[in-house]
C-alpha cells in the first residue's frame, strides 16, 4: 500500500491551488503535511480522499487511481475532514454503526465496539454527539475514519482544539496506527511533526518547498544558530569591526544598540565575539543564542519572515 502523487494540479476558477505537486508515501510512513493557511494542504487531502477531482496530474492510492477507481479507493481510505463534521443529532454508537453500514462491514456492532475502545470513548458512548466536548468529537471523527480498518488514513488537522492530555492520547493513537498503515496528516504544530512523523512535506502557495525525512530536517535546523548582542546605549558600534570573524556572514541591526549576527555553519563564536567587543571597548549588556527550530525552518521556507 502506498500513495503516489504525480504533478497534481488543482485550479479553482482562476486560482491555482495546487501546482504540479508530486510526492509518495509508503507503508509504515507517517507523513506530516505542513504549510501556512491556504497553501493547498486541504485541497490535496480532498483530492486523495476522492471528494474533489484534480484538474490535472495523477494520484493513486495503493495502485488505484482516485479518479478512475474512486469507489474502490474510498473503501481502503479513512478520511477525517477539516473541522471534523458530524451529525450532532445522532448518538455516538448510532453514528458509528451508520458509518460501519455505509462501508458494508460484516458484524458492524463488533467494529463499533472496537473503535469505541480504541479511541477511549467508553464513558461517553451513550451520549449525543452534540453534547460531547470537542476532544471527544475529534475521537468520534477518528473512529469513523478508522472503523473499516483502512490501509491509508488521511487526516486534516486531527489535533486542532484538543487539550494537552487529549493531544498526547490522540498522538499515541496515530502513532500506533502508523506502524502498519500509511498515514498522512496536516497540522500547524511543529512539535507534533517532530514527535509523530518520519516524513515531512512542506507546501507553500501550491508548491512543495520541502520533502524530507524528519531526521534530516532536525539536523538541518539544529546545525545553525544566530547570536544577538546588545551593547550599552552610549557605545557607538562599528559593525565592520566584527566582520573580521569568518564565521559571521551577516550583521543586522535590531535597534536599541542590539545586533543580530548570522553565523555560518556549526560554529560557536560567542567567545570570539566577547573578546572582540572588549578589544573595541564595547560593553555587552545582553548576549543571546538563537538556535533554529522547526518553526524557523518553516518560516524560512514559506517566506513569512
Amino acid at each position: 500500500m502506498s500513495i503516489e502523487v504525480k504533478k497534481l494540479t488543482k485550479i479553482y476558477g482562476s486560482q491555482k491551488a495546487l501546482d504540479e505537486v508530486s510526492f509518495s508515501v509508503s507503508k509504515g510512513d507517517i507523513l506530516g503535511f505542513l504549510g501556512p493557511n491556504g497553501a493547498g494542504k486541504s485541497t490535496t487531502m480532498k483530492i486523495l480522499a476522492c471528494f474533489i477531482p484534480q484538474t490535472s496530474g495523477d494520484a493513486s492510492m495503493g495502485g488505484l487511481d482516485v479518479k478512475l477507481n474512486s469507489l474502490e479507493v474510498r473503501r481502503i481510505v479513512g478520511y477525517l475532514p477539516e473541522n471534523n463534521p458530524l451529525y450532532k443529532d445522532m448518538y455516538i454508537k448510532e453514528y458509528l454503526f451508520y458509518v460501519a453500514k455505509l462501508y458494508q462491514l460484516d458484524n458492524p456492532a463488533a467494529k463499533v465496539r472496537n473503535m469505541i475502545e480504541l479511541t477511549g470513548l467508553g464513558r461517553e458512548q451513550h451520549k449525543l454527539i452534540g453534547q460531547i466536548s470537542k476532544g471527544y468529537r475529534q475521537r468520534v471523527g477518528l473512529a469513523q475514519a478508522m472503523i473499516h480498518n483502512p490501509e491509508i488514513l488521511i487526516m486534516d488537522e486531527p489535533t486542532s482544539g484538543l487539550d494537552p492530555n487529549q493531544l498526547t492520547e490522540i498522538r499515541s493513537v496515530i502513532k500506533e496506527i502508523g506502524k502498519e498503515k500509511v498515514v498522512v496528516f496536516s497540522t500547524h504544530i511543529m512539535q507534533e511533526v517532530e514527535s509523530l512523523c518520519n516524513r515531512v512535506v512542506i507546501i507553500n502557495k501550491g508548491k512543495i518547498v520541502l520533502d524530507d525525512s524528519i531526521d534530516k530536517l532536525q539536523h538541518f535546523s539544529k546545525g545553525s544558530s544566530n547570536i544577538i548582542l546588545q551593547f550599552l546605549p552610549t557605545n557607538k558600534i562599528n559593525t565592520a569591526h566584527f566582520k573580521k570573524l569568518d564565521a559571521i556572514s551577516d550583521i543586522t541591526s535590531m535597534g536599541e544598540n542590539a545586533f543580530e549576527f548570522n553565523i555560518k555553519g556549526n560554529n560557536d563564536v560567542r567567545e570570539a565575539l566577547f573578546d572582540l567587543s572588549v578589544a573595541a571597548g564595547y560593553k555587552i549588556i545582553r548576549m543571546e543564542q538563537r538556535i533554529f527550530s522547526m518553526e524557523d525552518v518553516f518560516q524560512q521556507l514559506t517566506g513569512n519572515r
Binding site: 480522499a49 474533489i52 474502490e72 475532514p81 458530524l86 453500514k101 455505509l102 462501508y103
Partner: protein, 243 residues
C-alpha cells in the same frame, strides 16, 4: 442506499419532526373533512373522499418541501456532505436513499387516512356505497404526486445550504409543476389552440386522470419521467463540486 434511507427516516422520528409533520397533515385533513362545515363530508351529503384528494396536493406543496429541505441543505451546511461523499457510496445511491426515506414518511402520512375511507364506507347509504375504484386510483395518483414532489424537494435542497431557502424553492417548484401549466392554459391566447397540450405538462392533469380510477400507463410514465428528471438534476448539482 438502505442504510441512508434508514438513517434519514430514524432521524425524523428521533427529532420529532416526523411526528409533527405527519401529525399536522392528519390534523388539518381531519378538520377539513369532518369539522369545518364548508368542506365537511358529513354536511356534503355525498359518500366520497373528493375533499381529501382535492386538498392533499395543496397541503403537500408545503409539507413535502418541509420534509426534504434538510436532506442536502443540512449536509452542506454542516460539512457532513464531505464525509458522506468520501464513503464508498455513489451520489446516485445517496439521492435514492434520501428519496426512499421521504417516501416512507409520506406513507406514514397517508396510511392513517384509511380511517377516513372506513368512516365514509360505513356512512354510505346503503353502507359501502362508494366509488372504491375511484378512491384506489386517487390514492395511487396521490402517491405518484407525492413522489414527484419529493424529487422536486430533494433537488431544491441540493441547491443551497440554507434550509429555509431550500423550503421556499421547493414549494415554488412544486407549485409550478402542479398548477402553473393548468392556469397558464386559461390565458385567452392559448385557449382552443394549445391549452390541452399545456395542461398535459402539469402534474394536475395526470393526477386528475388517476383520480377517476383509471391508471393509464401514460400518466405513470409522466410521473416517472418527472421524477427521473429531478433525480438527474439533483445528481448534476451534487457533481458540480467536481468541476
Amino acid at each position: 442506499m438502505w442504510t441512508i434511507a434508514f438513517k434519514e427516516a430514524s432521524s425524523f422520528f428521533s427529532s420529532l419532526a416526523g411526528f409533527i409533520i405527519s401529525g399536522v397533515f392528519l390534523l388539518v385533513m381531519s378538520l377539513m373533512l369532518f369539522f369545518f362545515p364548508d368542506t365537511s363530508i358529513l354536511t356534503g351529503n355525498y359518500a366520497n373522499m373528493d375533499g381529501l384528494f382535492y386538498m392533499a396536493p395543496t397541503i403537500f406543496t408545503f409539507i413535502i418541501p418541509a420534509i426534504t429541505m434538510r436532506f442536502f441543505a443540512e449536509e452542506l451546511q454542516n460539512g457532513t456532505m464531505e464525509l458522506l461523499a468520501t464513503k464508498p457510496i455513489s451520489d446516485f445511491k445517496i439521492i435514492c436513499g434520501k428519496f426512499i426515506a421521504g417516501l416512507f414518511l409520506i406513507c406514514i402520512c397517508l396510511i392513517p387516512t384509511i380511517i377516513y375511507f372506513y368512516t365514509v364506507y360505513q356512512l354510505g347509504s346503503p353502507k359501502g356505497n362508494l366509488d372504491i375504484g375511484g378512491i384506489m386510483g386517487s390514492y395511487v395518483g396521490l402517491f405518484f404526486l407525492s413522489a414527484t414532489f419529493l424529487s422536486i424537494g430533494i433537488f431544491a435542497s441540493s441547491l443551497t445550504h440554507n434550509q429555509v431557502v431550500a423550503f421556499v424553492i421547493g414549494t415554488f417548484l412544486c407549485f409550478i409543476c402542479q398548477w402553473f401549466f393548468l392556469y397558464i392554459s386559461k390565458i385567452p391566447v392559448f385557449v382552443g389552440k394549445i391549452d390541452y397540450w399545456l395542461q398535459k405538462f402539469g402534474i394536475d392533469y395526470h393526477y386528475t386522470n388517476m383520480s377517476k380510477g383509471v391508471i393509464d400507463l401514460k400518466d405513470v410514465v409522466y410521473f416517472l419521467s418527472v421524477i427521473s428528471i429531478f433525480f438527474a438534476l439533483t445528481h448534476f448539482v451534487l457533481q458540480r463540486r467536481k468541476w
